[in-house]
Every structure is written in structure tokens, then in C-alpha cells.
Symmetry: none
Subunit: 225 residues, 2 copies
DNA sequence: TAAATATTTAACACTGAGTTAATAAATTTT
DNA sequence: AAAATTTATTAACTCAGTGTTAAATATTTA
């Protein structure tokens, strides 16, 4: 049974979302503010948490930051709910460990379909799908064999290098912020210096060729071909 | 469900407008003066607020100014309602963060069609697309890829340029004052010289073409096509 | 255990995005 | 039409953000 926790200070929205998700067979719990949200999160350990950003006392960002400190929630998807349309504060939100951003107002259909998409994404990421081989540009990336091949040439990457490369290749074109990369490769509890990514990026470029990984200054890196 | 708040000190008008909007399926709340308007705005967070200008105690302009301080209402459309002979400059209203100006007396047909037009404009701007792609004119703006494309041509924008462009494109036609732009791109704590925006606008025009961004002298800039 | 390899740190070089400042041009006000 | 105000343009400057390298740790392998 997939458990979902919704945290929002507006009872109407809470009820609305709860109703729609339960209709689709999810086990839904709700909280009316950030603090209650944290408590319920710890007691139920949901698969997915919907967090309103604007809330009294403790806003969604803070709740997210707290949750991300606890490895118990490493596998928990967090999505923000907001009435705002800010471009780069979205990146700030993703930096904090959010997985998605849903803008209010949202129709029940769109809402539940996004929730399901997120859950699918997660399931896909930690199960043994046969889809372990990615072919992109002139590269073949085999996750199972932990091997990158270009034509006949085998490119041997170290573990961290490979993880980093897979992350970038996983969404070609998408810009990953440094924070995002740290979170997804190193996790939330490990802290490493801020030149570490550069060094790995450099080695990757050295090994796979310098044309694939592009720097977006002030934002992050992306894979492109 | 689209929520609309009407604030006007004349009960007749209130009832008249409420009746007509509810007939068209909107969720309407009303307030008899500015202060009540603010309170109801905070409790319901409407999608659109109709504000009469001439009101006792707190006029429409003041209400608008208050609302615009709160990011909660960034996505809320505000339209002013004014008698034909009141000579308030529309510019002042738009400067305060208003989106439109409706002159009394107005026929129900015209009124609801204006409201619907405003809501359409908004819906286009904050799409809930999972991939954050905006298509406008001959441009494609991909927030995730931090990339603007015109036809086959890729237009590479720097971070600030991209943010600024996204802001303007987010509400096509809306005039953003310099203050507004500073607030939303630089934030309230950073202080930069007052020619900085011009330079960024110039670079944007250089890169995306000079026809899209229009200067409204004495007010600000807008995206148009 | 030592050797080999992977990862991180630290120190410094470099680049260009972002800003400023100065001047020109456009527009509005007087 | 002159003065004042606002915006455009240009070029120079600065420093935050990256790149690079080598040396120090950590981890794996022999």
C-alpha cells in the first residue's frame, strides 16, 4: 500500500487532495501545519509527501530540510505545492531535496497523474528493470556492467564517476545544480568540499570526452550531445 | 474551481457581479470594504480579485499595494473597477501590480468576458506541465534545461538573463516595473545600481531579438509578440 | 601488509557573468 | 526650444564560480 502524507494549512485543499488520492487507492494521512507534518512523517514514514510551501509557523522548505536530515526519508519523495510561479526558487526547492513542484490551482486529474508519475519514477529507479542499458549519442552505458563504451573503445569509470555520469545522462539536457548532484550522489549526511564535483567532472571529461558535459555557470552541469 | 473575490462598497453592484459570475460557475466571495477585502483575500487566496477604487476607509489602490507585498498573491490577478468619470491614471494602477482596469458601468456580458480573458492569460502562464516548457511566439523556453530555442537556433542565456526572460515571458503583455523586477530577480536584500536592469535587457534583446521586449518609459518593461 | 586505485582536499589560475560608470540618445516636462 | 528626466549603449572592471593540478586520505585489491 502506497502511503502519502499531505501537509497544507488550508483544510479545504487538504480535504480535496485527500479525497482524490484515496479515491485512487492511496493510504492518505494529512497535517495542518509543518510541525504536525513532521510528527506524522516520522510515525508513518510515507512513500510520498506533498508539502505546501506557505504555511504558518514552519514552512514547507523548513519541513523538507528537516526531513532530509534523516536517512529514514532517503527513499521518500517530496513534492512542493505552491501558488507561486518563481523560476529559480524552484531550483532552491530542488536544492533542499524536493523532487517536484506542483502549482496551485491544480485539477484533481493533473494532480493525481503527477503523483503517480513521481511514484513510477521512484519505482523505476530502485528496481531491476531490464532497461539497464542506455544508448545515447555514440555512447553505450551499461548500468549492470558498470561500463561505458564508445564504439569499440571501453571507457572504465570509477564508481563515483559512473554514478555522476549516469545521473547526468539520465536526463539529457536537464541542468543539475551542484546541490542536486551532491544530494543524489553523496546523500544528505555526507559533506564534502565544494571542489569535489569539479574534480569528478574533470575526470569524466578526460575519460569520455570533453564535449558531452557542459557547465552552466552559476547553475550547474548538464549532459548534452 | 476558480475563486474570485469582489470588493466594492455598493451592495447592489456586489450582488449584481456575484450573481453573474456564479452563473458562469465561479466560486465568488464578496467584501464590502477594503479591510474586509484583505481579510477575505487572505482566507480564500482567490485566483482573481476585483477591486473597486473608490471605497471608504481603505481604497482599492491601498488594498492592492498590501496584497502585492505578500508573495502568496503573486499568482493572483487583480483588476480595478472604476467609474468612467473618475480620472485615475491607469498607469498608477498597473504600477501597483494591477492587471487590468474595468470601467463602470459595465454590462454583465462584457464583465464576465473580461474576467475570463484575464483568467485565460494566467492559465497560459503557469502551466502545470511536468517539463516546465513554455512555448510562446516562435520561442521555446525550457526551464529545466535552462535553454531558449527559436526554430533550430539555440539561444544561450546566462543565469540572470534567463531569470529575467522567464519573468517577463511568464506574463506576456504585463508591464513589470523596475521595482518589481528587482524584487523578483535580485530579491530584497541585494542592492544593485539602477542601470543594471537596462544592461540585462539590452543583452536579452541582443540575443533573443529586439522585437520581444518593449520599454514602457517611466514604468518598466514587458514581453510582447 | 603492502600496493594499487579511488576519492577528497587544498592551493592557485582562470574565465566570463554581472556590475558599474560614463556618455549618448530618446522622451517628457517646463 | 531648453531643461530635466529616463533609458540605451558601450566599455572597463571585479570577483564569484570553475578549472586544473598535485598532494593527502581513504578504500580496495593482491
Amino acid at each position: 500500500m502506497t502511503k502519502i502524507l499531505i501537509v497544507d494549512d488550508e483544510p479545504d485543499i487538504l480535504e480535496f487532495l485527500q479525497y482524490n488520492l484515496e479515491k485512487d487507492g492511496f493510504e492518505v494521512s494529512v497535517a495542518i501545519d509543518g510541525e504536525e507534518g513532521l510528527i506524522k512523517a516520522h510515525s508513518t514514514v510515507p512513500d510520498l509527501i506533498v508539502l505546501d510551501i506557505m504555511m504558518p509557523r514552519m514552512d514547507g522548505f523548513e519541513v523538507c530540510k528537516e526531513l532530509r536530515k534523516d536517512p529514514k526519508f532517503d527513499q521518500t519523495i517530496i513534492t512542493f505545492l505552491t501558488a507561486k510561479d518563481e523560476d529559480y526558487s524552484q531550483i532552491a526547492a530542488l536544492d533542499l531535496g524536493g523532487d517536484d513542484f506542483i502549482t496551485k490551482p491544480v485539477s484533481p486529474r493533473v494532480f493525481t497523474s503527477r503523483i503517480k508519475a513521481l511514484l513510477r519514477r521512484k519505482k523505476g529507479s530502485d528496481s531491476n528493470e531490464p532497461d539497464q542499458i542506455i544508448q545515447i549519442a555514440d555512447l553505450v552505458i551499461d548500468r549492470e556492467k558498470v561500463l561505458v563504451t564508445r564504439g569499440e573503445e571501453r571507457i572504465e569509470l570509477a564508481k563515483k564517476e559512473f554514478e555522476l555520469f549516469c545521473l547526468l545522462v539520465g536526463k539529457p539536457g536537464k541542468v543539475f545544480t551542484r546541490e542536486e548532484i551532491f544530494r543524489k550522489i553523496w546523500g544528505t549526511d555526507v559533506i564534502v568540499g565544494n571542489r569535489t564535483i569539479d574534480v569528478h567532472i574533470r575526470k569524466l571529461r578526460e575519460k569520455v570526452g570533453s564535449d558531452y558535459i557542459k557547465t552552466i555557470k552559476g547553475i550547474g552541469y548538464k549532459f548534452e550531445f
